[in-house]
């Protein structure tokens, strides 16, 4: 009998925290959503972290993040890049991982400082090419491309209405999920705009020069991706078809040409 009582108490204690903070849950989610609507450029680090993690769980899906030495490899590269290039601070710092067993060629930058790269692209990179890919993704983060891409008309309409404060937890959950879905859609399916990608390329170009790595590594990986015969259906992320890899390489040529001879 005593064992049954203790078991019941333990089970209750396990489940309790899930439901105990409903008010806090509503206020906290409301804060993130309001931040997105009111000023997409000014989400605070905590709000960016929440949004980035929610989008990351969608991208990972049923797959797993690799826990072999590739985890330390990409973490070290991203954190070194962020430190050397004075990337803006995030809530938990910068983190990166390889999406295991995903052999498409892609990488994703998520608000809050998370960079995910597929196994396929990780394996394809040689020498400084991985640094080039990660620099491009870090550039998306520095320029806040992900957060700025969220276009959720319904979210805006709902949260700016007079009834916003009476939203139920379920409604808030739906809206929050929709925001994360909107970001994921841009990252994975639609891809950034041509000008956004070229802007990130230019920023990555500067980063590579700053840390003493030849920007030609960037050209090299773009060429390899362009030549790849294992293209998947995705058009977002690093493997963006808007612009094409040829266009991006031409853009890099122009950036290289703009460097004064004494700087090369």
């Amino acid at each position: 009998m005593r064992a049954i009582i203790i078991t019941t108490l333990l089970a209750t204690a396990t489940v309790m925290p899930t439901y105990a903070a409903t008010d806090s849950l509503v206020n906290s989610a409301f804060s993130v959503l309001r931040g997105i609507v009111e000023s997409q450029r000014d989400l605070n680090p905590e709000q960016e972290n929440k949004l980035g993690r929610a989008a990351a769980v969608r991208i990972i899906g049923k797959r797993s993040l690799a826990t072999d030495k590739s985890l330390y490899h990409v973490t070290l590269l991203v954190q070194a890049l962020a430190k050397i290039t004075d990337a803006p601070p995030t809530l938990t710092g910068y983190h990166s991982a390889v999406i295991a067993d995903d052999y498409s060629l892609n990488a994703f930058a998520l608000p809050g400082g998370y960079i995910l790269i597929t196994q396929g692209l990780y394996d394809l990179c040689e020498g400084d090419e991985l640094l080039a890919v990660l620099a491009h993704e870090l550039a998306h983060l520095n320029l806040k491309h992900g957060v700025n891409s969220i276009k959720n008309a319904k979210l805006t309409a709902t949260l700016t209405s007079a009834t916003a404060t009476t939203l139920s937890t379920t409604e808030l959950a739906k809206l929050f999920s929709e925001s994360a879905a909107s970001l994921t859609d841009t990252l994975v399916v639609k891809g950034y705009s041509r000008s956004t990608e070229l802007e990130a390329d230019a920023e990555a170009f500067k980063m590579l020069r700053l840390i003493g790595v030849s920007p030609m590594a960037f050209d090299s990986i773009l060429r390899k991706i362009g030549q790849s015969t294992t293209k998947n259906d995705a058009t977002g992320g690093f493997f963006s078809t808007h612009p094409s890899t040829d266009d991006r390489r031409k853009n890099l040529d122009q950036l290289l040409a703009s460097i004064e001879p004494t700087q090369q």
Partner: protein, 203 residues
């Protein structure tokens, strides 16, 4: 009474276990590793070297020209008990040795001109990072997947995360993100890379 105490102890252990695993998740530095290398048929070299050491391998094949004899490998794994197994960061000259392992695909790509661009030559920055990876060696242990109920899986999550944790795989993925957040480059590693980058900029 004894039964009750035992049950409570078991419960405590059960619920504290995941915390214990995560606290030890950061990869430990392994200072020494055993490397067994077979430069050619019948030849064998066994040595113990600090992780991250660059190893020069001499090919004893008499038909190979001197320019093709050398390959440099970074020691990156503590478990190279077999033939170059688990070595994945390779730097080499123009050697044309043929290897059959999966890992040697990269070796062939670099050495046999599949990707002969200058960009494929590692810069001092990347070279340094490869050495640092050598120090990480075995890497962190496996992530403890969410093996319990959904309620247990979302304990400790933020409010927003609990909002989305009801979806398929979300709880498991939040745990994976928690896990990668615990892996951080050491300040020494970062300082070393920063110093090398600074030098590279000046050159």
């Amino acid at each position: 009474m004894i039964k009750t105490l035992s049950f409570l102890l078991l419960g405590t252990l059960l619920f504290s276990f995941p915390v214990h695993v995560q606290a030890n998740a950061v990869p430990a530095l392994v200072k020494k590793t055993l490397v067994k290398v077979k430069p050619g048929p019948g030849a064998k070299t066994v040595c113990e070297l600090p992780a991250g050491t660059r190893v020069e391998i001499l090919n004893d094949d008499r038909n190979t020209s001197p320019e093709r004899k050398r390959a440099w490998l970074y020691v990156v794994s503590p478990s190279c008990s077999g033939w170059m197994r688990n070595i994945d960061a390779i730097r080499c000259d123009n050697s044309r040795e043929t290897r059959s392992t999966e890992i040697m695909k990269k070796y062939r790509q670099n050495c046999l001109g599949d990707n002969p661009t200058k960009a494929n030559e590692e810069s001092p920055v990347t070279e340094s990072i490869f050495r640092k990876i050598g120090a990480a060696l075995a890497g962190p242990p496996e992530i403890k997947q969410n093996g319990g109920s959904m309620a247990a899986g979302i304990r400790g999550f933020s409010d927003e995360e609990r909002l989305v944790a009801g979806s398929t795989d979300a709880a498991k993925n939040f745990r994976q993100l928690d896990y990668i957040e615990q892996v951080n480059a050491s300040p020494e590693d970062l300082a070393a890379i920063e110093a090398i980058a600074k030098r590279a900029r000046q050159e």
